[in-house]
Point group: C2
């Protein structure tokens, strides 16, 4: 910038004005400055600008895994909102590791992102308190914040699961398996709660052998489902706790002769062709809502932290409408 000023024979501030399109420069001077910029291939160094202005026009998003089809649309939605506000988005994947989540979130804070959207991997976010106090707007998505009070955007995991399981019950099922994510994950617990509530609503008992929480790795899900199917009194329907469970469950059920009903939480591509009934959540809406809330905060709105819950949608496609198979 100094060089540009020298070459154009003007002061530093004049160049700054031109670069930022500020008023108070004669067209002639502006032209000279533009020429110098062109000639020197100058481009403003935003690092310096940030240092001076205190705002980075960037927001951070800490999620679990960008490669998961659930998070792609979410991230993209956040990006669109950020873009509308002239901000860039820095993503990071925690890989479901609380330490890595913290490391990432703090690294983003050290970069002085203006705001932070976090899909928690951990259960204690007090480490963010100093940052929030220092002015980093923070919104939690998909899972609630741990031990601090903050804006949160969730899906109705409880209600969605309850509706899905009720749907199976309405189609005559009495022995329904639940295969879900690890119990340390909030959504898994909520969905299990919904499962239990639906059974209870119908006056049915839960046999704990029908419930399997744990890793969503194909191996674990496969063995969980197979155990339920091979029991003396096999389940006649399975409720899959998330997209990865559904994918494996569909594979396992497809191998069997006996038709077992299935409802999965989260929609999946091609689920329509496979006739998989799902409880869909709108991950893009989750991201958009969170980002809008974040920027509202950045624009100075100062309300109490608030929790928003987005509705889920039951999409019947066949697998959830199968009647119980005559067993054994």
């Amino acid at each position: 910038m100094k060089d540009v000023a020298a070459r154009a024979g003007v002061g530093l501030k004049t160049v700054s004005r031109v670069v930022n399109g500020e008023p108070g420069v004669t067209p002639d001077t502006e032209r000279r400055v533009q020429e110098a910029i062109e000639f020197l291939g100058f481009r403003r160094n935003d690092s310096a600008r940030v240092l001076r202005k205190g705002r980075t026009a960037s927001v951070g998003l800490v999620l679990e895994d960008l490669a998961d089809p659930f998070y792609g649309p979410l991230s993209r939605a956040v990006e669109e909102v950020a873009r509308a506000h002239g901000a860039l988005l820095i993503n990071g994947s925690s890989a479901e590791d609380p330490d890595r989540e913290q490391e990432l979130a703090l690294a983003l804070c050290a970069r002085r992102v203006d705001g932070l959207i976090v899909i928690p991997a951990g259960y204690d976010h007090r480490y963010l308190e100093p940052e929030i106090r220092a002015g980093v707007a923070t919104v939690f998505v998909d899972r609630p914040a741990g031990r601090i009070d903050a804006d949160t955007v969730l899906s109705d995991n409880f209600g969605g699961a309850r509706e899905g399981v009720a749907h199976l019950i309405a189609h005559g099922h009495r022995r329904i398996g639940f295969v879900g994510d690890h119990p340390r994950i909030h959504t898994a617990v909520e969905r299990l709660r919904g499962y239990r509530a639906a059974l209870e609503d119908a006056g049915l008992d839960v046999d704990e052998r029908w419930v399997a929480l744990g890793s969503t790795s194909p191996d674990r899900v496969r063995s969980a489902v197979e155990t339920m199917l091979d029991a003396p009194e096999p389940v006649t329907a399975v409720f899959a706790g998330n997209n990865r469970v559904t994918v494996t469950a569909v594979r396992v059920l497809a191998e069997r002769d006996r038709r077992t009903a299935l409802v999965g939480f989260d929609d999946i591509e091609l689920a329509d062709l496979l006739g998989i009934t799902v409880i869909a959540q709108d991950s893009a809406a989750l991201g958009r809502t969170a980002a809008e809330r974040l920027f509202r905060r950045l624009d100075g709105v100062n309300e109490e932290p608030e929790s928003v819950t987005l509705k889920t949608t039951l999409i019947p496609r066949g697998s959830g409408e199968l009647p119980p198979a005559a067993n054994i």
Copy 2:
């Protein structure tokens, strides 16, 4: 940092040393500094650090759409490599718009990212020349750079498509449709080239009514496929030019009584269950390779720009092995 120094009763530089784990500080002093840091909730401002050091420890990734399942794993792979090098990743989606690609790439350069990975939307990347000259390492992925010489990592689009079409020919097909992306997109053109080459290898002529390039929107793909199926001499097989085309093609074909063979470029989740034969490319490997190349450059390796091509894999699952249906 000033405040920390004051509170600990030491010089600014000593605090800097402690924060960065540099040697030359007595344990006692270090302890006092640490206490002050703790007390004040100090965290280093990386913006200032960046300004001074000239390196941001961040890389930019400009892709088409983070919500596309093809790019999620690619982005994640880049992130992992970046993480291993202590760098953060800033993603941006160009939405297949050349202007937006440029705007994004230049915004990232203004932030002084150390390196840039670009999945081109445009065909002229000379706008990046000053940046590259100024030291921003740049690697192009998935599609080649336009009008500049730069590192590039591609999939073998030509070879993959040729293999897929040859596979259909080997199963007896003579009238094979090609539905692909817009002809301004490099991969679409390459794959079409592969299609033509396979037909030519077999001594078959191409009827241009079997070729449909254009938008990958469901509507356009649907009508393209339906036209081919409803022609007086309908195609007996369809080669789908990418994941989105495949998804719609599968839907359209599933509505028909006559079984039409299908091979798709790109693997899709649940394609195994639907028995869809595909030419799979490894999007994570694409991202990893590009990122490794980028960091090699950042580590000072100074070779000529190089183009790497990654092999694709034919995965037979049924749809590509159907014989031609007796038509009409």
